[in-house]
Structure formats: structure tokens, C-alpha cells
Amino acid sequence: MTRRWIQETLYLGLLLIVALIIGWFIGHVGRWLFIAVAIYLVWHIINLYRLERWLRYSRRFDVPGTFGVWEDIFNDFYQLKRRERERKWRLIQLLREIRESTAAMPDGMVILDRVGEICWMNEAAGRLLHLRVRQDVGQRLANLMRHPDFIPYLNSSHYDEPISMASPFSRGVHLSMSIVPYGSEQRLLLVRDTTRLHRLEAIRAEFVANASHELRSPLTVMHGYLDAMREDEHLRKIWGKPLDEMHHQTVRMTAIVSDLLELSRLETEQRQAPYAPVDVAQLVQGVRDEALSLGQGPTNVIMKVDAGLFLLGAEHEIYSAFSNLVFNAMKYTPADGSVTITWARENGDACFTVADTGIGIPAAHIPRLTERFYRVDESRHRDSGGTGLGLAIVKHVLQHHGAILSIDSEPGHGSQFSCRFPQERISHTIDKSVTA
């Protein structure tokens, strides 16, 4: 028992003794004792009442003046109340700081609940998506952001890649949006203004296209003169070898330039490829004939082609992608090897596969193969005469058709390149009216 409680008991004892003494002298001991106890009780009730009032209504911190055990109780409550207020203040401060920092963020943030209603957003989100920061809380985001590309993205459940689109509100503004699921079915939508990036990308693509185009005419001129000089018997005797080498290099440069042009055209094309039926069997036959006429690589080119399976896409693009894959296979396969071309249905998708028994590619290089001018090793391309852009073109063509390129390879045993086209790109008839 603490000192206070001993004191309190003493007070009570004292009160009772006083009552006893008075009762002793005046008489009616019982009545006096009763009065003493009643006084004690009233005092407690008054203090209880004050405590209750103070806890419930008082915003002030001054403790009502009292004594005895009540003073302690009031003091304890006072401490509790103060700590509580400090903690609350700290939390409010923290919350305000977080709010301020998110509001200051240049990227838009929107918190969405399970059904896609807006719970909170910052100023940037309001500005980028043309929403009203306070009033639109509780609205469904899909009702205000009605872009036909955005709604399926919001409703899908995999948000691995951000979606990028032209802003439906402000012309020339490009937005990149990504959704991060968190907590109990809440989602955070991040919106970034990528206008600058987009413009830079456009300028870069345009530069490549222009530069390639400008390089073309001088090359043609050089090529023409070299051809004429090679014809000349007199010059040939002295300059034969250098002339052949120069001719070979200009041919290669022309190939690179036209590949660069093709690539930049594919890059700037934002639309999906058209849905025109392509007779793949016939196209592959043409590619095979051309590959065999190169006089390089194996003569054993096997075709396993489903003639009743047609692809819906852009024929010249498909041709350039498929021929690049086949020519690559021919280049890296020795004359006694074989190349197998397959075009067939596989699990509902259509699959174009080129498999060779060539030198193969070490696994470390596979992810970077489709980069421009990427070489597995320097010694490899000297004699092959490729442009280094073939697989980049393949990748872009496939992206354009919603298809996926997968590469399997085992060094020393051969490689396999597969293009998998989605179901919507497949047709079983060449009839044009069906697809219109």
C-alpha cells in the first residue's frame, strides 16, 4: 500500500474517532458515526462527479483542486490525457507530412478500393486525369477515365506492365499508368506524364529514319560507280581485290540502311497490324527457295507446314520476319546439318518455328539477342554478312501482331526460334470478306 492509501485510511479513522468522541460526550454515538460516514461518502461522490465531468467535457488541462487520494487519481488521469494528446499530435503531424509529400509528388496517385471506387488522390492525379480531388472521392474511376484501353487494364488482375496512352483530355500529353495492388484488395494507381519522354523517343526515331534515308542516295551512287569500275578489264587487273571488297561493303551498307529504315518504320507505327489473311504455306515456300539459292548453309531444309492455317496480318512484315529467322538459321548451320521450318497450331495458338542443328547460342546471350547490332561474338559476323538488325525487326513485327518470340538454344546442338501468334490472328480461310 502506498503512502497515499495509508493517509486516506487515517483520514477515515480520524473522522470516525472524532464522530465517536462527539457521540461519547453528547450521546447518540450511532447517529454521529452515521453522519461521519455520510460526509465521507458525499465527499467521494462529489469527487467522482467532478472526475466524470472533467474526463468527459473538459478540454482544459488544469486539474480540479482536491486533496487525498483523489488528487492522485486526478494527476494520473492528467498524465494519461497529456500523453494521449501528444501521441495524437505526433500522428497528425506525421499524417500531414505524408499528405504534403504525396501532394507535392509530380506523379499522380489514386487509391482505389475493391470495386474501383476512388478513396483518395493527390493534386497531380487530379490535374493529369482531370478529376476533382475532393468531390470525386467515392466515384468509380472507370466512369470518369473512360478510355477503352484503360478500362480493361483496370479490370484485369495482372498489372505487370504499365499502360501508356495519349491523354484523352489534353492534346499532345502522354500518360503512363501502372497499378499496384496492396493490402486487402486495395489498389494504388500511379500516373506519370511521359510527354517529354514520348517526344524524345519520336525525335530519335525520326532522326534514325532521316539519317538512313539521306545515306541511301550517296550509297547508290558509289555502288553504281563501283559496278562500272569492276566491269573495266584494265582496272580489274590492278584494283581487282580492293574493288570487290568495296563492292561487298557497299552492298552490306545498303542492307543495313534499308533494315534501319524498316525498323524505324515499324517503331513509329503505333497501330496494330491489319487483319489481312496471309497464306503462310506459300510464303514459307518462297522463303525456303530464296534461302536455298543463297548457296550458304545446309541443303537439307525440311518444311512441316499446315497449308490450311492462315495468319491475319501484314504480309510484307510477316515475310521479312520469317525470312530473317530462316536466313539466320542457314547462316549458323554447317552444310551437313539441317533446318526445319514448322507452321502449325499449338494449344490454340499458331506457332511458326525454325529449328536448326547449328552452332547454337550460349544462354547468357539469349535475352539480348533482339537488341540492335548485338553480336554473340565478334568473330561470328565477319563472314556471315548480316546487318545485325534482323532479330530486332523480327521482334518489332511480332509485337505488331501481338505475337511472342521465344528462343531455345543449346550450344553445339542447335537453336530453335518460335513465334507464337494469338488465336485472334488465326484464320482457316483465305476469304477476305470474312475478316472485313
Binding site: Q135, D136, R146, H147, I151, P168, F169
Partner: protein
């Protein structure tokens, strides 16, 4: 902000049906907006391929219109909605008709711009037409926003914009007549421009209609053919949130 209370029904199913049909209307609105944006881009950039591609998107809008219409009939038949629910269903039925028409007009602009892309473009690159198109586009967008937010005041504001689109149409047609008188060779081309402008003017009217439905939906008062002042008075005077 006033909102119709869509989630007050005892039947959870009914709530969900109403909310879902409303969401679908707005998704359809998004498609139509995109069509319009594409049409205007085709016109600005002289992209004939894009202009023609709008036609192919139109079937999606039509499909949605039919599906939403069916859903509305089913709600009316099965739930027999009253008061604000009935107004919502009626508003939706009317709104999708206007949206579908906007889609048709956008398709028409796309077709015309494919044709215009084939001839030489004038020095101003159809700047007046572009400006008008931008205006109509914003109107459609804001009308749909007003519908999403159930915001009658914003709806009245958007409806007022229609006079400006009409004025622009008037100015453009006067300008076109001058051009045609100056050089009769361009009549064919200018007629195409006129038809595009006409389509945009119609789009503005459809957007205005949607706004009037929104006022009806929120206030329960038909403000068609009432004039803007009457509309505004109506919105201001009526207590909000009636049933």
C-alpha cells in the same frame, strides 16, 4: 455533391444491376469518345487509313447499345423500378441512343477525312473545323462526366456550350460559301468540310441532349426545349436529393 443513392435497395442484386448498367453506359461513352478523338486526328493529320478504321470500331458501340438496351428492358420488367431508379433507367435508354448517334457521326467524319486526305489540303489545315471539333469533343466528355457525377449544374453548363458550337458552325458555313464562290473547283472538297462541320454540330446537339437527361435524372424535371435560363433556374431552385 448530390448523388442519387444507388445503394439503398434491400435487394443487393438490384443495386448491382443498376450500378453495372450505369458503368456500362460510361464504358460505351469511352468508346465513342475514342472514336471521336480518332476521327478528329484523322482529319487533322490527313490520315486516311485511320479515318477508315473508325468504321470498323463502330460495331462494338452498336453491340454495347443493344446489350445495354436489353439489360434495361430486363430491369424494367423484373424490378419495376420507381422514382429515381425509373428515371435512371429511362435516362440510360435515351443516353445510349444519343451516344450511338455520336458514334455514327464520328464514323461519318472519319469517312469524310479519308476522302479529304486524298486532295490537297488548304493553307489553314482546316483550323476552324479542328477548333469546332475540339469544342464538340470537350462537350461530349463533360456531358459524360456530368452523368458519372450526377452533377446537374455541370450538365447545364455543358448544355450552354452548344450555342457556341452552333455559332461556330454558322461562321464556318458562311466562310465556306465565300470559298465556293471564289473558286468553284473546290466545291466538292468544301462540301466535304461542310458535312464534317455538320456532323460536329450534330454531335454537340447530342451532347446537349445527354445533359438534359442528366438534369432530368437528378432533379426529376424535364428541361427539354425549356431554354437555358429556365434550366438554370430549375437546377438552382429545386432542393437536391429528392426522390
Amino acid at each position: 455533391m448530390d448523388k442519387l443513392n444507388l445503394t439503398h435497395h434491400i435487394s443487393q442484386q438490384f443495386n448491382e444491376e443498376l450500378v453495372s448498367v450505369r458503368n456500362r453506359v460510361l464504358a460505351m461513352g469511352g468508346l465513342v469518345e475514342q472514336q471521336m478523338a480518332d476521327a478528329l486526328r484523322a482529319l487533322t493529320e490527313g490520315d486516311s487509313e485511320l479515318g477508315r478504321s473508325i468504321e470498323q470500331q463502330d460495331y462494338k458501340v452498336n453491340q454495347m447499345e443493344v446489350a445495354i438496351d436489353e439489360e434495361c428492358s430486363r430491369i424494367v420488367a423484373r424490378r419495376q423500378p420507381a422514382a429515381s431508379d425509373l428515371r435512371l433507367v429511362l435516362t440510360i435508354i435515351k443516353t445510349i441512343t444519343d451516344l450511338e448517334r455520336i458514334g455514327d457521326e464520328a464514323e461519318k467524319i472519319g469517312r469524310l477525312s479519308a476522302r479529304l486526305a486524298g486532295v490537297e489540303r488548304p493553307g489553314d489545315r482546316y483550323v476552324a473545323l479542328q477548333h469546332m471539333g475540339r469544342h464538340a469533343q470537350v462537350m461530349v466528355h463533360d456531358a459524360l462526366d456530368a452523368f458519372a457525377r450526377m452533377d446537374a449544374e455541370a450538365a447545364v453548363h455543358v448544355a450552354r456550350e452548344d450555342t457556341r458550337v452552333d455559332d461556330e458552325y454558322e461562321a464556318l458555313s458562311r466562310q465556306s460559301i465565300t470559298f465556293m464562290m471564289e473558286d468553284p473547283h473546290t466545291i466538292r472538297q468544301i462540301l466535304d468540310v461542310m458535312w464534317s462541320a455538320r456532323a460536329l454540330e450534330r454531335i454537340g446537339d447530342h451532347a446537349k441532349n445527354i445533359c438534359e437527361y442528366v438534369v432530368y435524372l437528378v432533379q426529376g424535371k424535364d428541361v427539354r426545349h425549356a431554354g437555358y435560363e429556365a434550366m438554370e433556374r430549375e437546377v438552382r431552385e429545386r432542393p437536391l436529393g429528392i426522390n
